[in-house]
Point group: C2
Chain length 355, copies 2
């Protein structure tokens, strides 16, 4: 960690240039000023401890929270950087918190590596970092270490972030994509496709009267609620790239079960539904950034649904289907007209740089 | 970790396209094929376990190795991707191993997030991933989880990697940039500036007869040797961006000491020295990727030097100076002509995209 957040603390020198320059990634005083002024000050001002030289965690304190360490990483290249309901910073913090959470872990800390295009307005960088700090502080997670690289104009598009998270898996909890069994119930925590539709709408010129907001949110608290209500829970997965369709297909294959969902039970915002109809998109494939798919044993389904619905991030939760022994590896949807269709996995995504 | 290495295992489908497409980052079957064929097969074939769905580590097994978890991240944007002595993959694995090692930690595992430009030849990606796998296997470190994003042509330059590492800090070891004391001895493990010179030479048209090779190497084993020989060691730092000059300046400031080095004791390859003279560069500021600066108490200096010199990666190790109470915060070099000059921190680097 010769990187950003590892420098000795002192009164930071304010960065006064209006734009990021190559010198800000060069390992000299300019980089140091950028890190101290933009990153350290912001992260330490957001209600948690200042990132330290070499992030370290007491292993016995971690072991007191559970028996396994979870470790996960994601790169974020979303375009545009700011969109209704969020920005790349919020997305990067929520995305990694959610990966930890759906693995059954309580998030502990994040790292953040930043690749910046020369010429990015300082104001933009400050806004993204502030959003990261705010989101992390609200979620009770600390951003403890990081790195900053600056590349020449044209060598990257504005700003890319990579967040990596560590967390502690609850003792005794055993969730996984291969653990679904026939009879299990499939639940989602709310309206699907908002993030994908929000990004696409923010890019395009459809100019909806009411812009669709991304559902970008940290799900760790919702997950805690869900696990408490359904301790026999089989698996959770956040439905990001590839949407709910990708999660269900992975589930069907890994668990060797059929997945049967009902179109009329899939919760959709009318605007997103309309948007998809206009553009010929299928909302089941749209990315979400605050939605998870959970599989619970049938006897815990009602309790799980009630608990999730009582949570702020689960008010529109719904049971959308069940696992079956029939047609293993397949996801089948009963359509609103009484027919059936296979919900296959797409080859690619419906749109690039969605997260 | 909805990402790459988290998909269920099955016989991978070979990716036959010659180039990476946007679909390879889209969360569908194309992405899955890419991850399984290029990443999972390579990493699992390199002598260690296959990356799993949600990377998890037994906390009691970690605690048996030491009392603290170390956590560090770095982004890699080096240009060109391949250079004499290494490539971006080797660099990304060594860089994060070295960050862990100089913090006193034994490296345990890495994550890897990849941002790929549409159109990157598959062959290039395979070569980089194979290099990562080889380097990690040689170092006894596993790459356990990751993520893949693909951006449109022109939105990034070929390939960026971010590696994040976890490791366990040796119980009782207390090293840090602020721990230097007057009288302590400053040691480096070999010839300085090779990486910076290698990259610059690989880019330019100086066309040296013997190309300079990067010193890119994992330092964890050397660090273990050094700590065993000098248990009272104060600090270690790998001298990457900003070179030895940046490390010594941070040390001087954080420890509140003066750093005094002798030009004639600084180990330099004659080719690198000549290269620097031609281009007007100062080798003290050139990046290294297999060199560390260590500060040890005077009574352990000889043992430390002998131990490092006996290691394959430390044959040209040298004591280059001492810490002093005088001129705190300053790095002063006695020149070969008997004069003195201040080795200040640069504002930026001598060259961008060095790592």
């Amino acid at each position: 960690m010769n990187g950003p957040f590892s420098l000795p603390r002192r009164a930071p020198r304010k960065v006064t240039q209006p734009k990021v320059t190559l010198a800000h990634g060069g390992g000299g005083t300019a980089m140091r000023d950028l890190i101290e002024d933009v990153f350290l000050e912001t992260f330490s001002g957001a209600g948690h401890a200042a990132p330290e030289d070499q992030a370290r965690f007491d292993l016995s304190a971690l072991a007191a929270q559970g028996d396994r360490l979870a470790f996960t990483t994601d790169a974020f290249v979303v375009d545009p950087l700011f969109f209704p309901g969020g920005d790349i910073g919020k997305l990067a913090v929520c995305g990694t918190i959610n990966d930890l959470a759906v693995g059954g872990a309580r998030p502990v800390a994040l790292s953040c590596a930043v690749i910046i295009e020369e010429g990015l307005p300082l104001e933009t960088l400050r806004a993204v970092v502030a959003s990261m700090a705010r989101t992390a502080a609200e979620a009770g997670v600390v951003i403890v270490t990081g790195d900053t690289k600056v590349v020449a104009r044209g060598a990257c598009d504005k700003l890319f972030l990579t967040t990596t998270g560590i967390g502690v898996v609850r003792t005794g909890l055993d969730v996984g994509i291969a653990k679904g069994r026939p009879g299990d119930v499939v639940l989602v925590n709310g309206l699907l496709g908002d993030h994908g539709a929000a990004i696409l709408n923010a890019r395009g010129d459809l100019a909806l009267e009411t812009p669709i907001e991304s559902d970008c949110a940290p799900l760790h608290d919702l997950v805690a609620t869900l696990i408490a209500a359904a301790p026999g829970i089989r698996m959770m997965r956040d439905a990001t790239r590839g949407g709910v369709a990708a999660v269900l297909n992975e589930l069907a294959e890994a668990s060797g079960v059929g997945v049967r969902i009902r179109e009329t039970d899939v919760p959709l915002r009318p605007e997103v539904n309309g948007f998809c109809e206009i553009l010929g998109l299928d909302p089941l494939y749209l990315a979400n950034e605050g939605k998870l798919v959970a599989v619970v044993p049938p006897e815990e389904a009602e309790a799980a649904l009630a608990a999730v619905r009582a949570h702020l991030l689960g008010r529109e939760a719904a049971i959308i289907g069940r696992l079956a022994a029939e047609r293993p590896g397949r996801v089948v949807m009963e359509t609103r007209f009484g027919g059936e269709r296979i919900v296959d996995m797409l080859v690619g995504d419906q749109l690039p740089r969605i997260c």
